[in-house]
């Protein structure tokens, strides 16, 4: 319990003190202000106004981050659901094998997985060469020159296993007898899916969206590796870069605060609904 206080709650207090602190007049480095009564809100309001005004420095990146994350999470769901369904219900005797192959990326280094794509997507990489050999492309396509869709695809590639895991757990738990009953009562396969399977996996879809989607908000390295241009910078990039310049540190912590405030709603909602679902299952 104590470790939580020391190592978890304290850092958040530091974030607050840096955000609401002042700048050292000589070194221009942040000075922490511990007393909440003496907090200075100018940095936070500066950051907030730059987030909300169309010409603010963070405005475009902020909207971009949300668009990328929502898009990538949606694609994860579209890819992940059929695969989880296959894994849970149709893999048959090959289930163990497929399960092992599916779990493998969890312990592969994220960086190595991205490095793999860098090799494949270079001008002389396999993707370009195959596309040229087939005749789809006349010249190499510059995949790595800061394309938003490459970045979103990279995020999907990186985070899709986190989407599949809860979906698989829920689909695997679904009693087969129930589906058979629905079919016996005359429902078509599609109707069985939409009326029986899908409603019972709503909780898992929520879990997948949270577990796969939230970490993307803190992702800056995928952008750096696959689409390193100003036009694709995400909010994580701004946070990381601000830490290198002492005068900007407090802006970075203000961004963290905003991100936290934004994410706390889905996190709390998700945690409450899972504890409720667990209690219902136990009862």
């Amino acid at each position: 319990m104590l470790y939580l206080l020391v190592l978890f709650l304290l850092p958040f207090y530091v974030i607050l003190s840096v955000t609401f602190g002042t700048l050292d007049p000589i070194f221009q480095s942040p000075v922490l202000v511990w007393n909440p009564l003496r907090w200075d809100t100018s940095i936070l309001s500066f950051t907030l106004s730059n987030l909300t005004h169309t010409d603010g420095i963070y405005y475009a990146a902020f909207l971009r981050t949300i668009a990328y994350v929502v898009g990538a999470t949606f694609v994860c769901l579209v890819i992940g659901y059929p695969f989880a369904y296959f894994l849970a219900r149709h893999a048959g005797r090959a289930k163990g094998l497929f399960l092992a192959l599916f779990l493998a990326p969890f312990w592969f280094s994220y960086m190595l997985r991205m490095l793999a794509w860098i090799g494949l997507l270079q001008d002389q990489g396999y993707v370009n060469r195959v596309l040229q050999d087939v005749g789809i492309l006349g010249a190499p396509y510059p995949f790595l020159s800061g394309k938003s869709w490459v970045l979103v695809t990279g995020l999907v590639y990186g985070y899709v296993p986190y989407m599949v895991l809860p979906l698989y757990a829920a689909l695997d738990r679904l009693p087969v007898a129930q589906l058979e009953a629905a079919r016996d009562l005359g429902a078509s396969p599609a109707r069985t899916f939409f009326r029986v399977t899908l409603p019972q996996t709503r909780q898992a879809i929520l879990a997948g969206v949270i577990i796969a989607g939230l970490p993307m908000f803190g992702d800056y390295y995928t952008q750096q590796l696959l689409a390193n241009t100003v036009g694709t910078r995400m909010i994580g990039n701004f946070i990381i870069d601000s830490l290198d310049v002492p005068i900007f540190v407090s802006r970075g912590s203000a961004l963290i605060l905003v991100l936290m405030a934004l994410l706390i709603v889905p996190i709390v909602y998700y945690l409450r609904s899972t504890t409720r679902a667990a209690r219902e299952r136990a009862a």
Binding site: Y85, F86, F102, P105, Y110, G119, P166, Q224, I256, Y270
Partner: protein, 301 residues
Amino acid sequence: MSVKASTGASRRRLRDLITNPWARPRFLWVIGIAYVVWTLVPVLTAALFSFNSTRSISLWAGFSMRWYVSDPNESVLHDPDLRHAVLQSLKLATGAVLLSVPIGVGFGLALDKWRGRGSGSSNFVMLFSFITPELIIAVSLFLLFVNPFRFVGLGTTAQLLGLVLIAIPYAVIIVRARLLSLGPEYEEAAMDLGASPVQALRRITLPLLAPAIFASAAVIFAFTLDDFVMVKQLAKDGSNETVAMAIYGAARTAPSPAVNAIGTLMLLTSTLVIALAFVVFRRSARRSGTGLGAEREALPV
């Protein structure tokens, strides 16, 4: 006879799959296979290019061990930076396991017993830290260690503390799941037979928890070995560089197959650890007669 019949059937299934991949539920097989190919083949090509004989990571020129051992300057064996990165990664992962597993097990046991006020909220805070983006925790710790906790400072100690912080929830979740599937009966029986609570814990509960403890150690090892955000944020200089940081740095500037080579080595290490843990877990779970069913119920999904 039956073997022959089943291979005939599977061959027929394969032929059907190729001639008409869109019939239900065959298209699900197409999705399943496509997914696995899509997630694994890029990584396998990256591993393949660690054996390339030239500097390219996208043009294959021939097999060589150059980037592992032979190259006198840039191979994993001879480049001091890469060698150091491997050691630093292993050091941090081992340290994180040794520190976070005991704390996590203790915390899991405490949460299991503790029914009163505060147990719900401390569980909540733990799960909260589990799904908060790592960047947020890493930057918070960074600010903590450079300002008020300057005596910690940045470097290996800070990296280790950060990793332990984010690794503990893994151990807690795995241990609690196992405790839930075991139920209180064994411990109660031991105490009815005259064991003190401490004896019951040491002689009954902990041995029964052994597979879960082992599994959490393996998971934490594999995940801290590859961690990037936390170790990068809390590193002080080049001496704190880990494999993930080395891959990141090289991938941004000048990728060389030597980077693929250390990535591949780490991949083999964590695969080995996970496979070992899986075998041990399976064997002891079978011996104690409890399946995975109840454990899955307790996962936070």
